[in-house]
Symmetry: C3
Subunit: 152 residues, 3 copies
């Protein structure tokens, strides 16, 4: 039995912070950018290249991947997960050039446990808790369900 393994500690490294950002540790944030007055909850992971705007709340247990851009005054609920790799060749892309981007406009609210595939979401949108967003959202409104549809 081997008991040798490489242990890396989740940490905050190489992050560009605006002013008065609060982070609740432990979390794993690396080479991303987090705007002024934003709040990052515990047990979160934010990857290289992700951009979080100002006055945002990123709640506990959320995962924000590379190639995600989030505007200002956004609310990202607990356990929200973003996706950038659609396994379009039947396996992990392996190469960042095949990942796809997500753009979340200013003021968008994303309910807890939602799953966000690589999409654009416009201003004035609320995503219901537990929704799975699979397509671009170009009209303000409330979207929920799996896959997410406009409900109001």
């Amino acid at each position: 039995m081997s008991v040798v393994f490489n242990e890396v500690l989740a940490s905050i490294r190489g992050v560009e912070f605006g002013e008065q950002v609060t982070v609740v540790s432990p979390c794993n944030l690396y080479e991303c950018s987090i705007g002024s007055y934003s709040f990052i909850g515990p047990f979160t992971e934010i990857q290289k290249g992700a951009i979080i705007g100002e006055h945002c709340r990123i709640q506990s247990h959320s995962f924000i991947c590379s190639m995600v851009t989030i505007g200002n005054h956004c609310f990202i609920g607990h356990g929200v997960v973003f996706v950038n790799d659609l396994f379009s060749e039947g396996r992990p892309a392996g190469d960042a050039s095949k990942w796809k981007a997500t753009h979340i406009a200013n003021g968008v609210l994303i309910g807890s446990n939602a799953t966000i595939l690589p999409v654009k979401i416009c201003e004035g949108v609320t995503i219901g808790a537990g929704a799975v967003v699979t397509k671009d959202i170009k009209e303000p409104g409330i979207y929920a369900g799996n896959p997410a549809k406009k409900i109001r």
Copy 2:
């Protein structure tokens, strides 16, 4: 590039514990109440004012918000998330007086990765894994899907 930020450590503070409670750290529990003989898994967050009964299991990765009351002998699976803010004015309530309460009766079982909006759930109910509960549940049975419906 600013590298200054406020780091707060997830912790257990101001919690009212019954007897023989077990908590697996790290977790972020504050100003809540946890009944005797209950178990709280790792990577959980339980907010101010939440009440957990006796002989409960709150599994890893769960998030229990303010204004949630959970009875005795309940099972809350892994990654279960509760919601108290319906963004009813198109933005976070901002004010606790606009949050809504959840009541989970004795013996209710909530499957992993379920999402629970502000509702009442009666005794004799099992919520399936991955369900999204959007309405009060007043009849015993098994409920699953998004939105959750009675399946048995």
Copy 3:
């Protein structure tokens, strides 16, 4: 008010590791087996008896329970949760002899926030992000939704 409780620290204990495994802490891994060249992300829990193959990625926030076997070259996304207890008597099984097993074949890809009930999934399968898999999957393809159905 009691403020006495048992605090246990999430840790890596009694795990059988292959060669060159990387683990990002904090995580809670115990009495499981993790094959060579696999990667385990932060905020994960892997229980006693779970078997992870070689060259796998188990991403952040995932929970892998007892009686789950995962093949080689599998990708388990962020926030994926496995289930082994169907509460078939209306309460937690209480006894491991009533838990049910899950088998994930080589090369299977499971999207983030998916929920996997006790099933067998064959080779050549991709599970969409946010899916809830409730039945065995015996044909290659892409499965998504709640409950998961074949979409391609």
